[in-house]
Structures are given as C-alpha cells and as structure tokens.
C-alpha cells in the first residue's frame, strides 16, 4: 500500500460511481440563472437564520457549564435556597479561596495528584509510543499487523473492565493506592491513541527526506530529532494534549484504585463534596471550573486531528 492511500483513508472509495452523473452538472451549471441574484439575497438571510439556530444549539451545549459558573460564585446559603435563583445575587470569589481548606477533601493534594498523574502518564505514554509509531510507519516486518491490532484492541479496552485484575496486580506488587500505579494505568490505556496518531503522521513523511539525511551523514537518532520531529510535530502535540486531557479527566480507575484521599485526583475529590444529607455544591462547581477550563482550551487546539486519531483512521 502506498503512502498516498494512507493519507486519504477511505475518502477515495465512494467516489467511483460519481463521475457519470457529474457531467450533467457541468452543462447545466454553465447556463446563466435568471434568479441568481435573488437567490443570493435570500441565501444570505437564510444563513443568518441558521446562525440563530446555532445560538440555540450553543446554549444547549453550554447550559451545564453556565450553571456551574453561576453556582461557583454563589454562597452556601444561596445555592441551597428553595426555590433557587438562576444567578448569584452578588458574585463572590470566596469559594475559589475557601475550597482549598475544607474537611471534605484535601484539595491542594488532589490538584497535585491530578497534575502529577497527568504529567507522568503523558510523559510515559509519549516516550513509549514515539519509537513504536516511528518504526511501524517506516518499516515492514512480519509481526507489524499483529502489533497494530494489539494496539487497536487496547484502545477499545478501558480500565473499568479490568479494574479487578489491576487491583489484584497492584496489591501483589505493593503499589496499590499510589500515584505511580495510576501513571502506569493512564499511560497504558492512552498509548494506543498516541501510537495511532503519530504513526499516521510519520507515514506521511516521504522516506526520501530521511534517506537524504542519512546520506548527509546523520545517524538514525539524529535524523529522527532533526528531520522527522519538526515534520510530525502536529501529530506529537495532538498525542500529548489528548493523553494529558484523558489523564486529567480519568475517574473510574482512580475511584477504584486510589482509596487514600490525599492520592485522589480532582475528579474523585469532587464527589466528596456531595454528601448524603448535605452537599457543598458551591465547592463542587468551583473545583469543576478549575478542572474544566484548562482542558477545554487545550482541546480546542487539537480539535482538527482528533477524529482521525480516535477512529484509528477509520474516518478521515
């Protein structure tokens, strides 16, 4: 298979039956349309009509986060008021200060945990994925297909389904309830995305570029650092950001594998504010704002590469 088909994915496949009908289009399109200008005007109005629909759609998707934002600035009395008010009577910043010292959960440690697990998991996933992605994109070998299949299957598995096995393994190794164990889990389950997305970027770089570097006296490591890395940088950034976000948001495995509150990440700590009888919603929302803002900003940066990575090239 050539590199060009790889880059285009299945996009080329459905086009076969198209050519026949498109002739008609060409001839008709050349005829001047009498209503052209009128249609243009109504089209313009229609487009703004769509914008109005768009605003409604946007609001639907933002509603939970607007509730979160409003709640994060309400006082304890206000957020439990019956009936509730949509907006805080005065926007108080104190929740963002007070949430760090509450009896429910040691939030500074929780944030530290989230950061350490996310950074560690991302670094490990990247270090492990990079050579595999490079080699599989560049070389043919007998076990390549089985290897990529294994990677694909890993992508479809989630720690939840393996929780009891992971729990037993970590207890046996005496690393249960440690951030290190969670770094391993996060790195392993996000490895496949990192390999797939970087593999597809490496595969688009012509081999000749690299060969030229070898002829010029670069060794393999040098050519990778000096020639390949700059070319596949968008793929690497996508892998880094996506893995980081996935680690940052991870909940299920941490919930099962991290019983000690000081080790727990923000996602698990958050649920401590919700009690059977009393809940500190103002803190839940203040923590959520802190937890969501950075990842949304990062996510927006890699949006255009995500689909191809997540569907392992199944959709361009």
């Amino acid at each position: 298979m050539t590199r060009s088909t790889q880059a285009e994915g299945f996009a080329t496949a459905p086009q076969g039956n198209v050519t026949q009908t498109s002739h008609k289009y060409v001839t008709k399109q050349n005829l001047p349309s009498p209503n052209a200008t009128k249609r243009l005007k109504s089209g313009e109005a229609g487009r703004w009509g769509l914008t109005i629909v768009g605003v409604i759609v946007a609001l639907v998707f933002l509603v939970p986060y607007l509730i979160m934002l409003s709640g994060a600035f309400k006082s304890r009395q206000e957020i439990l008021r019956v009936p509730p008010d949509y907006l805080p009577s005065d926007w108080r910043f104190s929740n963002f200060v007070n949430m760090w010292s509450t009896p429910e959960t040691p939030l500074p440690q929780n944030l530290y945990s989230t950061v350490i697990i996310s950074l560690g998991g991302t670094a490990l996933a990247l270090v492990v994925a990079l050579p595999a992605a490079y080699y599989t994109a560049r070389h043919s070998f007998r076990l390549k297909l089985p290897f990529m299949l294994l990677v694909l299957i890993t992508q479809m598995l989630q720690p939840t389904v393996l929780a009891s096995g992971l729990f037993r393994e970590f207890v046996t190794l005496d690393i249960n309830d440690t951030r290190f164990a969670m770094i391993l889990v996060n790195a392993a389950f996000n490895l496949s995305f990192a390999i797939w997305i970087m593999h597809s970027f490496f595969a688009t770089v012509p081999k000749e570029i690299e060969e030229a570097a070898w002829i010029d006296g670069c060794n393999r490591g040098q050519s990778m650092v000096r020639i390949m890395l700059p070319l596949v940088w968008p793929g690497i950034v996508t892998a880094i950001i996506f893995t980081f976000i996935a680690c940052w948001n991870e909940f299920a495995a941490s919930l099962i594998l991290l019983p000690t509150d000081t080790n727990q990440p923000l996602t698990v700590a958050l649920t401590k504010f919700i009690g059977q009888y009393e809940s500190a919603w103002q803190y839940v929302f203040a923590v959520s704002i802190i937890g969501i803002l950075p990842v949304v900003a990062l996510f927006a940066m890699i949006e255009k590469h995500l689909v191809s990575g997540l569907t392992a090239g199944g959709v361009k």
């Binding site: 009908t21 070389h139 996602t267 996510f299």
Partner: protein, 305 residues
C-alpha cells in the same frame, strides 16, 4: 525508476526481522503486557479463586463465582438495564449527531465558534458534567427543575433522581449529551468526504433535499456511522461516572448496568472474586464488539504491512 527503487526498498524492509523491530516496540509491548494483558490474565485467574473480603486467597473454587454472578437476584434487571442503556444511548446519540453534523456542515456566520462550543462537553470531565445535572435536577434547589417549571413544561419540580426509573432515564440523557460531540465530529468528517458535485448532480436531477440525503448522502456516511456507533457502544457500556454520580445513591440495583454492578461488588461488598467473574463476562462482551468492529470497519487496512 522510482517504482523499482521502491520495490527494492520494500524487499529490503521485509527482510528486516522482528528482532530489529524489538527495541522500538519493546517499551510499548512491556507497558501493554504489564498493564493490560497481565491484568486480564489475573482477572480471569481471580474469577476462579475464592477470595476473602480482605483479599486473602483461599484457593480454587471452579465456576462458583460465575454461578454466583448468574444467580444474583438483580441480574435480570441489570442485564435489561445494560442493553437499554447501551443501545438506547447510542441510538439517540447517533440520530441527534446526524442532524447536528448536517447543520454544522452548512455555511453560516458563527459556524466555527459553534464547533468550538460543541467540543466543551467532550473535553470536560464527565463526572463534573454529570454532577451539574445531579444539582440541577434536585426537586428543591435544582435550577433545571426551576427552569422546566418556568417554561411551563412541568407544574412543579420533580425529583428526577429520587427513583430508579426516572433517574436511569435522566442518566441516559446525560450520557447522550456527553456522547454527541464526538459522534457529531465523526459524522462531520464523514460528510466532508461526500463530493460536492454529487450533491449538485442529485439536485439537478430533481432530487429533493430529503431524497438527496437518504439516497446519496446517508449511504456514504455508513462507514463513519459504523465507527462512531461501535466506539460509542464500547464507551457507553463501560461508563461508570454518570450512573455513579446520578443514581449511585438510590438503594438497590434497579438503575445499575453490569459495569456499575461490578463497581458495587468491588467497592461496597468487597467481593473481588465475584466482581472478577462479572468483569470476565463484560470483557467477553467487549471482545465481541471489537470483533464486529474489525469485521465491519476494517481499520487494519490502513496499516501497510
């Protein structure tokens, strides 16, 4: 000239043994082996062992754990819930995403901004998103309840998460909400592979918009839909946070899926052995779905062997 050279290179490449590939793949293989494959093995092993509540291994127990799983009183309810949960959420998600992607594919002012806004539920932590609904749907201080009453859709606030049925349905709605962005983007990627001239040809041939969509666009979206549906089935089936936060405090198992039941067995009952047996069953289900994925979508043909 280039083709001969490529062929020569390919031959050379094929000669390279797996041994040479090993240093490059070893780190990945060790990580996958240690944190994915080994736990699978350990889980299967544990499912045939008798474990005390404190994790003490008391020896082989044959299929006892499986017998216990299949004899659990709530199991029929939980299995029904799992099917309703998985297929209900994925079906509604796909239908909404088809419409939304169609809309996002149109050219209107603010389209880029809208695309950015729609990724928010995708990027945000699912626990954080679902806790907002736990708060908003509260019958006393819940803002969503108040909003529905203010709109005139309800006469008075309703305790959505106070009983299993409405709690489960609310959780399904939230699951749809967080699954739609990814699905929409996959469908959108599929829509962009539909050539423009095909659409115009259909229009000129006198096909109406509806007809064009169902007879021209939709068939071309099938690969994208297959990918989106299967990835969603796996994610939704495995989902823990939504049900844990929204219906976790409802007593009993009327709002549980096999995944949340497994979690309750580990967390509340400390029955690691029974939980392992249930996990093995879940694992087999997922393997079957993966098998279907490989068969239908054929993602491996992207890899040049």
């Amino acid at each position: 000239m280039t083709t001969t050279r490529n062929k020569a290179l390919k031959r050379h490449a094929r000669r390279q043994t797996t041994l040479q590939a090993l240093p490059w793949l070893a780190p990945a293989l060790i990580l996958i082996g240690g944190v994915v494959i080994f736990p699978v093995g350990f889980m299967i092993y544990t499912s045939f062992r008798d474990l005390s509540r404190f994790g003490k291994d008391r020896g082989w127990t044959g299929f006892d754990n499986y017998v216990r799983v299949f004899g659990l009183d709530p199991l029929p309810t939980v299995l029904t819930n799992t099917v309703v949960w998985t297929f209900g959420v994925v079906l509604v998600t796909v239908v909404i995403s088809l419409a939304l992607a169609q809309f996002l594919n149109k050219n209107f002012p603010g389209r880029k901004t809208l695309r950015m806004i729609i990724i928010v539920p995708w990027a945000a932590s699912v626990v954080m998103t679902s806790t907002v609904f736990v708060y908003g749907l509260d019958p006393f201080y819940g803002i969503i309840n108040k909003f529905l009453v203010d709109l005139g859709l309800m006469d008075e606030p309703y305790g959505f998460l106070k009983n299993a049925t409405s709690g489960f349905l609310s959780a399904m709605a939230v699951a749809v909400f967080v699954s739609v962005p990814f699905t929409t983007f996959v469908v959108l990627a599929g829509l962009q592979t539909v050539p423009h001239d095909v659409l115009e040809a259909a229009q000129i041939d006198g096909a109406g918009k509806v007809q064009t969509y169902w007879q021209v666009v939709f068939p071309m979206l099938r690969p994208a839909l297959a990918v989106a549906a299967i990835i969603n089935i796996i994610n939704v089936f495995n989902s823990l946070p939504i049900l844990k936060t929204m219906t976790g405090s409802i007593p009993g198992y009327d709002a549980d899926t096999t995944t949340t039941l497994m979690f309750k067995l580990i967390q509340s009952d400390r029955q690691i052995d029974t939980a392992s047996a249930l996990s093995v069953v879940n694992f087999v289900v997922i393997l079957v779905v993966i098998g279907i994925y490989l068969k239908v979508v054929k993602p491996m043909r992207e890899v040049n062997a």
